[in-house]
Amino acid sequence: MEYEAVIGLEVHVQIKTRSKMFAPVGYRFGEPPNTLTDPVVWALPGVLPVLNRDAIRKTIKVGLMLGCEIPEITKWDRKNYFYPDSPKNYQLSQYDQPLCVGGGVEIELTGANASEMGEHRVVKLTRIHLEEDVGKLTHFANDSLVDYNRAGTPLMEIVSEPDMHSGDEVFAYLNSLKNTISFAGISDCDMEKGQMRCDVNISVRPKGSDELGVKIEMKNMNSPSNARECVEYEIRRQIDCLKRGAPLVQETRRWDANLRVTQTMRTKEDAHDYRYFPDPDLMPVKISREYLESVRAELPEVPFDRQRRYMSEFGLPYSATSVMCHDPEICEYFERAVAAYPKNPKAIANLIVNDLRRELIAARQAGEDPETGASGEFSGAGSADSGRGLGLFDSKVSPEDIAGLAEIIDGGEISKQIGKEVFAEMFATGKPPADIISEKGLRQNSDSSELESFCMEAIKGNQKAVDQFKAGNEKAINALIGPVMKASKGKANPAMVLEIMKKLIK
């Protein structure tokens, strides 16, 4: 019998705000324990929560980018359960009136190769709601320690429909969410730092069946590729169980990244009784049409839309756009450069994606210990991550100078080859390309009498090539041009050289 997996995700994303969801104290990753708290975070007797306006706006922003409906009224509820990392022993969350309903996440599956676009589809969303994060527990031999720095950080929970079927889709989904949300500046979505976390629900059923199988929840995946591997493992495990006739039980399993297996964390004997009820300390929020329009007005372009536009409007190849369009910094840099020189976006894209990124990556690797194992995580369809967060705007090369270089090459003043040399100098010194060219005397040699003497030298030196050319082998002329370029130190204008050479041979 053939089986298929049905997969739904609950993704938690920390929202970048100055202060916490319900308290006016900040949160930063990696600070000493319990240094980012206040009486509200500790749930001391008498404290009260107050909603963070900005966290609400940012969640709505994500909702609008993902095509969700934003209901007019939203409210917060208490989810009651005891755990040492939860100071109130209830979490302020949203039960039946979340901020965002419906919507979907466009994903791209990996294509046949890096220059081919993969298949696109939309994974349906159930809802997005806004809640608070809990503190951090660390376990030791004899006790557990609690740090409440993270407690109360705004957290949006993005709940998908059971609408995925493979590890690849899960991987693509997480990458797409990360790209969309980080593009909007709402979170950095760094899974290693816990800024983005996912729980995966998987069930397996005979292909064609309408009924869902036993739902098993996975936790503890700290990267999209981890999640993909975990899902693939779990699908195999569940199908294997079914084939052997072993019963599957509803349970929560943990991904062990070292052993690369999933393990039982707990079985759900009795369902949680969270006793949700509307929080009497918080007032509901009414979202007006005008407010929604104002949020809509500041929405950034969704990455896949931008990618399609770059391909159609600028004629860029898929491979370049797949690098660019998942990184807001590259896009901004590119668009500024194109604004300065709109005639050749392709050349500009090439300079940015290849030359500038290569130098920045090399500089980073030279400057610090290469991060182990972290690269390429989000390199799904296209390879976006290796160039992420490189600080294009912090480099010495401005987008206007990149544009200037492209224009100079297009104008024939220097060759593409010399262009590479000029770029390296721009990167090292920050000087404008025109200055470098004149300082170093790199302008193309278009002095016809000098070029003619170089050509005559070359003809004398290689009679064989001359004969072959005369016999009709057009390519043979390249063997004659090489020495000319060498003699001119690479500055000979290639078009002129070709013309002079042909004239001389005839």
Partner: protein, 97 residues
């Protein structure tokens, strides 16, 4: 509402309160009486009535996203029953869900 009978063990577990057998018996009886008194609620027609979660309906009470200074760790921990390394120490957490 059925004749109210409270599953005292289940509810005490939800509330994380250990009860003696005597307490269980006493509370069951008393809460049964109280819930019996509450039955008058079930006799009233509330169809079409909006629930009141608050004493009055006010919307959109929010604050601007401004960071204020944090509480010093020493103050945060001054009432802690047990702490080390500037963190709260609790008996080892055994995951029970």
């Amino acid at each position: 509402m059925e004749k109210a009978k409270i599953d005292i063990e289940y509810v005490a577990k939800l509330a994380r309160i250990e009860l003696t057998e005597d307490e269980k018996a006493t509370y069951s009886r008393q809460l049964g009486q109280i819930l019996g008194y509450f039955e008058r609620l079930s006799k009233i027609d509330v169809s079409g009535v909006e629930p009141s979660a608050h004493a009055r309906a006010v919307y959109n009470v929010m604050r601007d996203d401004v960071e204020e200074p944090a509480m010093p760790v020493s103050e945060a921990l001054m009432n802690a029953p047990k702490a080390r390394d500037n963190q709260i120490s609790v008996p080892k957490v055994v995951d029970d869900a």
